[in-house]
Symmetry: C2
Subunit: 371 residues, 2 copies
């Protein structure tokens, strides 16, 4: 068993209330997944991450980035430490991306062939090569519950022809990813308590901003029969109605009984909207990255904590929020921490923003269960 997915209710909008069972635990969907790039959700201690959000239930599943962990501390080291769960002391479900997006967005001097991608590390300029097979080797060494196929992320904007060509490469790589992944599952670094369980692998639909290519890509991947499907290549600068349109047109061609994951989105209203359209999983660095920059999400919109307006504001970030930050600290204090460059600023801002995201999804789940 790698993954079980059960939809208990589907709303008229297409939104689904579901339950995703993974080797490391059960995830209520739709779900938002905090990003733990280097095996740490930036600035947030795991003990608090386990308690964030409504009811103190914490994050259900988090992400780690294959590209970052491959470069530092190295996937073989993580494997020797027992895999990424044990390495970072997080025993709930995890997902790793394929490294593709980071190779295309962070590294320099890329050379793409049908074989794979040669690139230089953003850390020290050293030369590396990622192929679908190598990405799978790395992801198996990390040992997250869900791994992603290695895909090419086309530059944006791109013509229909260029996008279709890139998509073709992505599909070939998806099949190679699948073959290599299935053949090497015995190498995952899990203890005997996980005997009989394996990592799951999701395919990634590409196709840029072209609905016909999205359909073609979805159909090709569905034919390969993955246990779950991601929609990639969105939220890369296109207008929001295009993002929504591409998601809608792709969802039509994905099986209803498998989880659907939109990668790298978004603002709170976006994750709510996409969840109501039938997206089951989403991830984004926004809550933590914005938090580090003093941007806080609230039920009344965004709030920039560095503003002078908040210097003597004795209220919490959000009066309707039940998170540990809103329960204890004033806007005045949080502004002071940010203005003073105090490390606690990133900790508390990140915790609030993550709680806001998790609570948003909890609320969506509750309404989807009823409709």
């Amino acid at each position: 068993m790698s993954l079980e997915f059960e939809v208990s209710n589907t709303a008229e909008s297409g939104g689904r209330r579901g339950e995703l069972t993974l080797p490391h635990g059960v995830v209520q969907t739709p779900v938002f997944m905090p990003v733990g790039t280097a095996a740490t959700v930036k600035a947030v201690p795991q003990s608090l991450l386990e308690e964030i959000g409504a009811g103190g239930k914490g994050a259900q599943i988090i992400l780690a980035n294959t590209y970052h962990l491959y470069l530092r501390p190295g996937h073989e080291l993580v494997r020797r430490m027992g895999g990424v769960h044990r390495f970072m002391s997080w025993d709930r479900p995890m997902l790793t991306d394929s490294g593709g997006f980071q190779v295309f967005s962070l590294s320099s001097l890329r050379k793409v062939t049908t074989e794979g991608v040669e690139f230089r590390s953003h850390l020290d300029g050293s030369k590396h090569f990622f192929s679908p097979e190598h990405s799978m080797d790395v992801q198996i060494a990390l040992g997250a519950d869900i791994a992603m196929v290695f895909d090419e992320c086309v530059e944006t904007p791109a013509t229909w022809e260029r996008t279709r060509e890139s998509m073709g490469l992505t599909h070939a790589w998806a099949q190679r990813s699948k073959d290599h992944f299935d053949a090497h599952q015995h190498l995952r670094p899990w203890g005997p308590e996980f005997d009989g369980k394996t990592q799951a692998q999701f395919g990634i639909v590409q196709g840029g901003m072209y609905a016909d290519l999205r359909q073609e890509s979805a159909e090709r991947l569905v034919a390969m029969d993955f246990p779950g499907y991601a929609i990639g290549g969105l939220a890369v600068g296109e207008p929001r109605d295009v993002t929504r349109e591409m998601i809608a047109r792709t969802l039509e061609h994905l099986p209803k009984d498998k989880p659907r994951y939109v990668m790298g989105v978004g603002y709170p209203d976006e994750i709510e909207e996409y969840a109501r359209m039938g997206v089951d999983m989403m991830d984004c660095v926004l809550p933590t990255r914005a938090g580090r920059h003093g941007l806080l999400f609230t039920s009344e919109g965004r709030l920039n904590i560095k503003k002078k307006d908040y210097a003597e504001d004795q209220g919490p970030i959000d009066a309707t929020c039940s998170c540990m930050v809103c329960g204890r600290y004033t806007r005045a204090y949080l502004r002071h921490l940010f203005a003073s460059g105090e490390p606690l600023s990133a900790v508390l801002n990140s915790i609030h923003n993550l709680a806001f995201y998790l609570d948003t999804m909890e609320r969506v789940r509750n309404t989807l269960a009823l409709t």
Copy 2:
């Protein structure tokens, strides 16, 4: 009532097991006080600070720095926010220093007169003036349980003559600090639940590295009758046996029934040694500052987490430590966080080091109670 102090046992070494009752709570002594410079113990959430150390009892009392809070966010703002306790959401005892040490160590272009010190902010170069009276106004606005007199910190090394001259100024300032503090206690920003309670003010013994001057300074301050006494001007670069000697020679001249506080020390073995000599209170930035630089304190000595030796070390920082970091994370993971510049590194390292300091004092208290 500003302060009650009771010694329950005194060891042959001079070390005392005591209890210090302050408006915001009871402190078991000898005690180590974590430093919360800008109304935050750097990188540590208050909720974790309340749980740090053996038995999960947390820090009993913390410091905040008058100089830093005066400059940012400003003491009048803190007063309007209800004082430093409410501002930072910390309801246990607190102590503020006088700002003197920072004026002399951090700021530039100082001009000292008998009236006070003119200096420029290390933040923006703006010009400011601190007198004993002004330091008291600031400390009353902050409203910690214990305030310190404003003293001159003589440069080091300094001749006997220069030290004696400076000490004379410190004594005059101590009397002015006391008069102004007593006359303005009604301005402290405490709620009605603290009616009948006032802030306490400690005198500071100076005298550099000269035992005769230390004696003279102690006698002068004791004659002014403070509820507690600090020993200042130590740990400023002198050899450790000189520090110890100066503490020993000063303690002889301080009343046994009042708390004695050595400012700004030290390494774990130092705070243990001084506590066993009869020092009741100590503070130091070392556990948090060293933590941010990857230096960890353990029962087997210091450990530099950035060392390659720890890259695959699955053990905790200290196998005998019961802190939340040692209970959960490996040296390998902590090294990875440090090497990757992750903000969680400072959080976890600081928590462990503070726990180690608090546990050290807990152990000393336990032995002092028995002897």
